[in-house]
């Protein structure tokens, strides 16, 4: 139980701050509901436009979810406390990102797959979509945390400007993935590619982010 303590602490902090937890999820739902309203229902290609809208809204929501992910702890001094105690900062960053993925990324992936049933009404593609969404939300979270840690006190616009170029390759892969899902060809190659990217940055970026935060604290 002792091992899980930092995880539960961070989870407590996130859950109690509904603006940071429920906010992004509601915005995602709002976008996915607003999407069919904007498309002329009579036109049948609702499903073609569905995937791009889904991926762009995931990108947007992950950006909102990480807006002040580090700023809050930076401003109230608990980061300084953490720096002094000999706990490793990069482990804390890893935990923070994991908790945000668990409480925001996973629900959004589930909702995304759920809305997919609504748009394309076939269960198979939604099940294929779910792991891809789960992995790509985690990757987006890590990348946006990197951008936000760089522009910690200077507002999230700068953080987004820095991070967007980094997220473009992922969007290209997701684009290829949609055609793989629609035509059901070599779907697993793309999934493993995404998983490969995740497995590289999941540990590398927290180390870099913790050094960046140390620079801010100096």
């Amino acid at each position: 139980m002792k091992l899980l303590l930092p995880y539960t602490n961070e989870a407590l902090k996130l859950i109690k701050k509904t603006r940071a937890w429920i906010g992004p999820i509601l915005i995602f739902i709002l976008i996915m509901v607003a999407f069919p309203l904007t498309v002329e229902l009579s036109s049948t290609n609702l499903s073609d436009a569905f995937y791009p809208v889904l991926f762009i809204s995931i990108l947007l929501v992950m950006m909102l979810a990480t807006e002040d992910i580090f700023l809050e702890d930076y401003e109230d001094g608990s980061l300084e406390l953490l720096l002094i105690s000999n706990k490793s900062l990069s482990q804390w960053v890893f935990i923070k990102i994991f908790i945000h993925w668990l409480f925001i990324g996973v629900p959004i992936s589930l909702l995304g797959a759920f809305f997919n049933i609504g748009a394309n009404n076939d269960l198979n593609s939604s099940l294929m979509l779910l792991p891809a969404l789960g992995i790509s939300t985690y990757i987006f979270l890590i990348l946006f945390c990197f951008g936000n840690s760089l522009s910690l006190t200077k507002g999230s616009v700068l953080g987004t400007l820095i991070t967007l170029p980094l997220t473009l390759p992922i969007l290209v892969i997701l684009g290829k993935l949609t055609s793989a899902i629609i035509f059901n060809i070599n779907y697993f190659e793309f999934l493993i590619l995404l998983f490969g990217i995740l497995s590289i940055i999941i540990f590398a970026f927290p180390a870099i982010i913790s050094r960046i935060i140390k620079t801010h604290l100096e």
């Binding site: 522009s151 200077k154 170029p165 390759p169 290829k176 870099i208 050094r211 620079t215 100096e218």
Partner: protein, 251 residues
């Protein structure tokens, strides 16, 4: 024990050699030569390329923009690489000069990327009929331009120079790792999107008579941009080291 001595020697060498003072005086001596030689090479190459090479069989005369576009986009990417390397040197060995260099390269890199972008899209008008075509090379140049803007705005938003330099260093290194990834994914994406007819992305296999002026214009353009980097680094040195004694006696 030997390792410690080695590190101390390297550190001493770097700090002695890479001190802003020695750099400043060396560069002052080198600058006029570099400027005039590269200006001569560049103008010679442009005149040669524009006026004395035969018309391209497919694109007609509009291919001559290659003498502007290709050197610019090549220099834009190598400037980013130079920035990443000097950032790495700054982070590892704490060499202040490397941070000044990285900071001085950023605006010039943005400028060069911008003119590469504009020349690429102007070149697109006769070849594709539109000024903007999602060709792989143009898109990755646009992304590179956005990354430069991100670097400059990041550095400008901190008044503590030391903090700004470190943050710029981290972003430059991560950005540098991203460039090949972005290039590959954009090529991969655009290869599906647009059949590889006349694209600027692959090195156009042109006959040698057109190739020599291209290499010359690349060398000339790189020299000119190096002069700009030298000027910009002098500006940084004046800003950052203004209360150092040697700067005062120099002025």
């Amino acid at each position: 024990m030997l390792r410690e001595i080695l590190i101390i020697v390297i550190k001493k060498f770097i700090h002695q050699f890479a001190s802003p003072k020695t750099y400043f005086y060396q560069v002052n001596r080198l600058y006029p030569w570099l400027l005039y030689i590269s200006l001569f090479i560049y103008l010679f190459a442009i005149i040669w390329g524009l006026l004395f090479t035969p018309k391209d069989f497919v694109q007609g005369h509009s291919y001559r923009i290659i003498y502007f576009h290709v050197p610019a986009s090549f220099v834009a990417q190598s400037l980013y690489a130079a920035m990443a390397i000097s950032s790495a040197v700054f982070l590892i060995w704490r060499v202040k000069l490397a941070a000044y260099l990285a900071r001085s390269i950023a605006p010039i890199g943005a400028m060069v990327t911008f003119i590469a972008l504009v020349s690429g899209s102007i070149w697109g008008i006769p070849t594709w009929g539109t000024w903007w075509e999602w060709d792989a090379r143009i898109t990755s140049t646009l992304i590179l331009f956005i990354m430069y803007l991100g670097l400059i705005s990041l550095h400008n938003s901190f008044n503590n120079f030391d903090k700004a330099d470190k943050l710029l260093a981290y972003l430059a290194i991560i950005g540098f790792i991203q460039i090949p990834i972005i290039k590959k994914s954009v090529d991969w994406w655009s290869s599906l999107h647009q059949p590889a007819s006349i694209t600027i992305s692959d090195k156009p296999s042109i006959d040698p008579s057109m190739l020599y002026p291209l290499f010359m214009s690349m060398i000339g353009f790189a020299g000119l941009v190096a002069c700009l980097v030298i000027l910009s680094s002098k500006v940084q040195i004046y800003i950052r080291e203004k209360n150092k004694s040697w700067v005062k006696d120099h002025v």
